[in-house]
């Protein structure tokens, strides 16, 4: 189907030029398109336009009003806006102030002296998307500084220290992307096409390690920004920005989050270029190397961001007694999960599962900051006993409320207990739904397995250190284990179901098993 469309497309784009058919292998590869990205035939678009029902007349009027505003806005900031193509739909574009997106084939005249295959056109589109994305990113980072950071500093809406915390190292990221954009423009030929980007990327990507400090700061930045938003002046300033055209109705956090969002998409962008690069193109080898580089960098930043988050919460633990301090907390670098649970008296607790210790706390406000006050002794994971409790098994204790409670409140409990010499404690904890409870059980089981595994292999740990170190590998292993545990838990809960439901679950389990196989296969590919 796709092969048909390209001759038509090429005809439209290059009137008076002769057609070039895709290579023989083209159709076979193009057959993969429908399962991934698909291109819509133009003729269908035209026919659909004719079928637009009259009901759309009303929204069209509103669109045109907004469109006029958008046009006047765009003409000021983008004098080079392109006229819409003659064959595009008559319908007005959706009402939005979104930045105008561009395609390579719309930006450069492909007709002149060009007889490109559909694959090569897609390759140029992918390269152009990377380049255009850098341009947009630079523009937004500069906007964050000039429209938010600098005015708030000048007007003393926030202190310099606070703004430095919220904006982090954002300013230092701009030159990095200007460098990449500059190099991509340098290698672009006069006709707009680009032959090789691999070497540029291989040389440039390592500088993205600078993102480490920016991403690690984001949890704290978000917390402080949310706190300052309670200040009326901050709130008022941000609201005015939100209502101004320059913000495109995106708030400050959106702009602060752009670097992180962009970072995790580089692997996708590069893989897309590689997908359309022929095997005989020397760029292919460089692109594969570039993808490996960026995946390593993002994985490293991911690990450090996790450690930063762990540190953030440890700093906010409040100890009532000296004895509550535990070296296992100090030495933890991974926060497996945390969240709100309730005990059997209905008290809200905030529970942290670090890699070697479970910490039960209560959220309190301390010096206007959210902190977590320890509630009893931390429980070492290696000594922790975990019990899954059936619904209705727990008695709500200690108050009149228990007598009047309904079934709803006796669900989703599990119990953690700890006994070591003279110390002993037990907690019945309630999650807010089945899925959440299951997640806690899986996380705790996973942490216990990790600790036991480390203890059991103490003698041979050094020799396996190199295997354990790769972050990506350990991530995948954890993911798989978690998945298997989830399946196991499902099968356990099946026992209490009706026969008809059991048969349905069996079918689902079979599907899941095949999924496990598929995921393993996927991992081997990686």
């Amino acid at each position: 189907m796709v092969a048909k469309d390209y001759p038509f497309y090429l005809t439209v784009k290059r009137a008076n030029c002769s057609l070039e058919l895709p290579p023989a292998s083209g159709p076979a590869k193009d057959a993969e398109e429908p399962s991934n990205k698909r291109v819509k035939p133009l003729s269908r678009v035209t026919s659909l336009a004719n079928l637009i029902p009259p009901v759309k007349a009303t929204p069209l009027k509103r669109f045109s009003q907004t469109l006029q505003r958008s046009i006047s806005f765009r003409s000021e900031s983008r004098p080079d806006i392109l006229a819409p193509r003659p064959w595009s739909r008559n319908a007005a574009p959706s009402s939005t102030k979104r930045r105008d997106s561009k395609l390579w084939s719309e930006t450069f005249d492909v007709c002149v002296n060009q007889m490109l295959t559909s694959k090569e056109i897609k390759r140029q589109e992918a390269i152009f998307e990377l380049s255009q994305g850098e341009e947009d990113l630079i523009e937004d980072l500069k906007l964050a500084k000039k429209a938010y950071h600098d005015p708030m500093l000048k007007l003393s809406i926030m202190t310099e220290q606070e703004l430095n915390q919220i904006f982090g190292t954002l300013d230092s990221l701009i030159p990095l992307h200007e460098e990449l954009l500059s190099q991509l423009r340098d290698v672009r030929k006069p006709d707009g096409s680009t032959e090789h980007v691999g070497p540029i990327l291989v040389g440039w990507l390592p500088c993205l390690s600078s993102y480490d400090s920016y991403c690690s700061n984001q949890v704290a930045a978000k917390a402080l920004l949310d706190h300052k938003k309670q200040d009326h002046r901050v709130q008022d300033f941000l609201q005015r920005c939100l209502e101004s055209p320059f913000s495109r109705k995106l708030d400050l956090w959106n702009f602060l989050d752009i670097p992180r969002s962009r970072l995790v998409k580089y692997p996708l962008l590069l893989r897309e270029i590689l997908r359309h690069t022929p095997n005989d193109n020397p760029d292919q080898q460089h692109l594969e190397e570039a993808i490996n580089i960026i995946q390593g960098i993002v994985a490293e930043i991911n690990t450090k961001t996790g450690e930063s988050e762990c540190r953030y919460y440890k700093e906010r633990l409040l100890y009532l007694e000296e004895g509550q301090k535990d070296s296992l907390i100090d030495s933890s670098r991974v926060l497996c999960c945390h969240g709100e649970l309730k005990n059997n008296r209905g008290v809200k607790l905030h529970v942290f599962l670090f890699q070697e210790v479970l910490v039960i706390t209560r959220a309190v406000t301390h010096n206007e900051q959210l902190c977590y006050q320890l509630y009893r002794q931390p429980i070492p994971v290696k000594d922790l006993l975990l019990e899954d409790l059936q619904d209705g098994e727990v008695r709500l204790g200690g108050s009149l409320r228990g007598a009047f409670s309904n079934n709803e409140r006796i669900k989703n409990f599990f119990r953690v207990s700890f006994k070591n010499g003279s110390q002993s404690q037990t907690h019945s904890l309630q999650a807010n739904d089945t899925f959440n409870k299951q997640q806690w059980l899986n996380c705790i089981r996973q942490a216990k397995e990790t600790v036991l595994c480390a203890a059991g292999q103490a003698g041979v740990l050094d020799s396996e250190g190199s295997f354990l170190n790769p972050t990506t590998g350990s991530r995948e292993l954890q993911g798989e284990t978690k998945l298997e545990q989830m399946d196991q838990s499902d099968s356990e809960s099946d026992c209490s179901m009706d026969t008809s439901e059991v048969s349905l679950d069996c079918e689902r389990m079979e599907q899941t098993d095949s999924s496990c196989g598929n995921s393993r296969h996927g991992e081997s590919n990686v």
């Binding site: 505003r69 739909r89 939005t96 309670q230 599907q511």
Partner: protein, 229 residues
């Protein structure tokens, strides 16, 4: 250009985050909503965050839309996008039934981890492939079939999603608009999640919520806060 008008009705704002596996159709949906047509020559890999405006008879809704990378890794860096979200659209490709169960559980786990009280909507993408001959033949070789609407509803129920919606960015712009319209209505019209869930609204887990002192005090009385956009 700037006009002074009579006070307008309050503009409702919602933040929607789209998550799901790589190549399941998230970005194409957003492209269709933004440009009102399926990309004709090239489907971009990345979708830049933007705010769409929906007009209804009663009010004006500004939908803040966040696309995410479908890469399954980077589980510390990626989830910061969930911050302050009103609903998460959990997307999957109906023509890949073999990956649905495991993939959705993985994403559901992440969503619960970072924003347990946010609404989750299950979205089936690429519904035009239900009648695509090459897709049907390929799946029949593996003794499978595309996921049906009924199956989608069952999966949504199993995952605890509020609703199952589906559409095809490729063939039906209308279905995509309908998805986002329904999502925004759910955010605006229902002050709290479905009654089956715990009546007490839980705080977000990793994303900090810093209540003022009075709010903290009132929360100890189990006062339920209505969710506003």
């Amino acid at each position: 250009m700037k006009e002074r008008r009579a006070p307008q009705p309050v503009v409702a704002r919602c933040k929607l985050v789209l998550v799901g596996d790589v190549q399941c159709g998230k970005t194409a949906m957003l492209q269709v909503l933004a440009k009102d047509c399926y990309p004709e020559t090239y489907v971009p890999t990345v979708f830049e965050n933007y705010t769409a405006c929906l007009e209804t008879e009663e009010q004006r809704v500004e939908l803040s839309l966040w696309d995410t990378s479908g890469s399954p890794y980077y589980d510390n860096v990626r989830p910061l996008c969930y911050s302050d979200s009103d609903a998460v659209l959990l997307c999957f490709d109906i023509s890949r039934p073999e990956t649905v169960d495991s993939a959705l559980k993985k994403w559901r786990t992440e969503i619960l981890d970072y924003c347990p009280s946010t609404r989750v909507l299950l979205i089936g993408c690429k519904t035009d492939l239900r009648t695509d001959l090459s897709t049907l033949m390929e799946l029949s070789h593996q003794k499978q079939a595309p996921i049906s609407y009924e199956q989608g509803c069952a999966i949504a129920k199993q995952l605890g999603a509020e609703i199952y919606l589906e559409g095809s960015a490729f063939t039906s712009e209308k279905s995509i608009h309908s998805i986002f319209r329904t999502a925004s209505m759910l955010c605006l019209n229902k002050p709290s999640p479905l009654p089956q869930k715990s009546p007490v609204r839980s705080l977000s887990k990793r994303l900090l919520h810093l209540p003022s002192r009075s709010e903290l005090i009132s929360s100890t009385f189990k006062k339920e806060k209505a969710k506003s956009c």
